[in-house]
Amino acid sequence: MSFRDLSLSVKIPIRVTALVLATAFAVTLTLLWGEYEELRRDLANSSASLGGLLATSLVAPLTHDDLWRAFEIARAPVVGAASGSSVTPRYVAILDAERRVYVSSDPVRFPYGARGETAFPLDRVASMLQGEAGGGNRFIETGDGDLVSVTAVTADGVELGVLLLGYSNAQFQPRYGALARRAILGTAGVLVLLLPLSWLYARRTAAPLVRFAREMERIGRRSAHAPESGAETHGDELARVEESFRRMVAAIEEKESLERQMVIADRLAAIGRLAAGVAHEINNPLGGMLNALSTFRRHGRGDPMALRTAALLERGLLQIRDTVSALLVEAKAGSHPLTPEDVEDARMLALTDGMARSARLSWRNDLQETLALPSTLVRQILLNLLLNAEHAVRSDGEIECRVHCADGSLRIVVRNDGAHIPGERLRHLFEPFAVEDADGSGLGLWVTYQIVRELGGSIAVQSVPGNTEFDVCLPLPKAA
């Protein structure tokens, strides 16, 4: 589980805490830097006054060439001062006018007569002495981290020598350590106060988000079509809110699609009822009229004009009956169960009709046995779909047909790569006379739809440019 997956109720406080800590750190650092500067200033002041005092005391020993007295003076601040004081020089050295070591508090390190430049950056000492009137920083930092303060020993305006007070940076460490400890303790004190407050505040800030996320998640899970099988969803609340929102949108879209399909199905059902009603109403008088015509022809006077008119009437009435019977799809009795050969017959019929277009037909019939489905109706479905595909496909196009059994259903999939059906037409596709096609009756898909419904199955259509696919699913009747 990574940091990203943590709850906001933890993450926001952690971030706020980190900010508080960073601020405290920065403030401590600033304070310490200030203290360090202060320390340096203290040292500068103390070394200036000590240097002045020693320089005055050294005038007589230097003029009298009293090495021992000079040594005692040089040694006094190093030995006599309280040890551990950060402003005690680590060594005192006196260079004579020729810049040789005259005496130092540490004769081993700076022996008598040693050339000054072996131990000190004399060029900087010289520039320091010249710029002494200017004040400012009176320290030279030597390579090994020592600070050296420089004071001229002068008598009557003549320089007798140079007094060097050496301080080690390491000397500051105890005092600096004490300062650092104080600063850290102070910061820790403030943090002890601030951290719980900021933690509390951050938790409060996070609380509504967390609640919102939980709520969203709850709603999202309830409406989710397929909850992720209890799989742990990672990420903080915001990530989970996003996920829930996505699922909700998907669910809403699916619901809307279902509703659209239901509307279509309802409309088709209403049309079906209307068509059936109208057909019945027409069929009854139609039967009578056809009977009457038959009677008239059989018992009429044989007037050729009348007979021609009767024949005309009969043809018209028969066309009406065909149309009406096409609207009125009914499971016709006496239809034998579907055999693989029935399916092959549909292929033959379709090929005969589709010769002219020379479209390729990719055929796959996986049926092995007889199915308890009315062969006439299934053949009609297959034929209708194949003929439709042949109409749609281009001359060098391809039609694919697959018939097979799956999950206790008969599946018929007919696909072509011809012109696709635009969305507007797709919506009214299965309505009668929806297709304003010159060569079609406009009833093929309607009849197909009615048959599928009659058989308790479903038909779905998908159409994108280059691929139009009808998928029919007919449930096989349960064996008694």
Binding site: D66, L67, W68, P107, Y112, G113
Partner: protein, 283 residues
């Protein structure tokens, strides 16, 4: 309570008056001190002065000066009555001074000059190994701290001013030990008696030094009086010094001095110093 305190105060007042009147009756005795011994131990000096005042029944003042020469000058000019000085100035001004007493160190009125080097220096075998080094003398009027090493150099046809890179005076034997142990100087000449006494003292100053060589024995720095001091006073003073072994306080003071006592002494003790002086002195 109040009464008894007043009585004590009165008694103290009487005592103080008695002492003051006695001191007023007898002129103060001024004794010069030099760094031939550890003359910077003030507490000891106060005790010794009180002891002498009690023994002499007169006020005593110790007069300390930084250099032997000042003390000798004060004595010769009559500003001091007595002084503990080195054998070297004594032989130089023998006619103006009279030997009063000589300290007994390790049972003898004799001492040696030590050549010391820093303890870290394990190679130096004699002063002649210190050519071109920094050397610490105690006082130009000191036998052990200057005359003897100069004499040794002279017998090797050397002079301190040219033999050493740098020679300086610390004006006290203790400070020679200090200068050598801090390694300010690569070597130094010191009064053997002072070095041995320092070795016993807390502070461990001598641990930083190594004794390279010891000189032959010389007469120990004597206590002298000016030649014109009243003989009775001189006798009293000699008795006071030589009699220190006879009482507890005196013995305690001698123990502090790391001495066995004071003896009347003999002028001949210092002949060897005079002989060296004759050789070393220019012209």
């Amino acid at each position: 309570m109040e009464r008894s305190r007043r009585a004590i105060l009165a008694a103290l007042g009487v005592g103080a008056w008695a002492l003051a009147s006695k001191s007023r009756a007898q002129p103060m005795l001024r004794i010069g001190l030099t760094a031939v011994f550890l003359d910077d131990e003030i507490r000891f000096l106060l005790r010794w002065r009180a002891y002498l005042e009690q023994r002499l029944a007169r006020k005593v003042e110790f007069v300390q000066r930084g250099r032997y020469r000042e003390t000798v000058e004060l004595l010769r000019e009559g500003h001091l009555d007595a002084a503990w000085i080195c054998g070297f100035p004594y032989v130089r001004f023998r006619s103006e001074l009279r030997l009063l007493a000589v300290p007994l160190f390790e049972g003898k009125p004799l001492y040696r000059s030590y050549l010391i080097v820093p303890a870290a220096d394990a190679t130096t075998r004699s002063i002649l190994d210190l050519r071109g080094k920094v050397f610490a003398f105690s006082d130009p009027d000191s036998n052990s701290g200057f005359l003897y090493p100069s004499y040794v150099l002279r017998t090797s046809q050397e002079r301190p001013e040219t033999f050493f890179k740098r020679a300086f005076f610390t004006w006290a034997h203790r400070k020679v030990v200090d200068a050598v142990s801090t390694r300010l100087a690569h070597g130094g000449s010191v009064d053997g008696y002072v070095w041995e006494t320092l070795r016993l003292a807390p502070g461990r100053l001598t641990e930083g030094t190594r004794v390279v060589s010891k000189s032959p024995e010389f007469g120990h720095p004597p206590i002298v009086v000016r030649a014109n001091l009243a003989p009775e006073l001189a006798r009293d003073l000699r008795d006071a010094f030589t009699g220190m072994t006879k009482d507890t306080e005196g013995r305690a003071l001698l123990a502090s001095l790391n001495l066995d006592g004071f003896a009347p002494g003999n002028e001949r003790l210092f002949d060897s110093i005079e002989a060296m002086w004759r050789i070393v002195q220019p012209g």
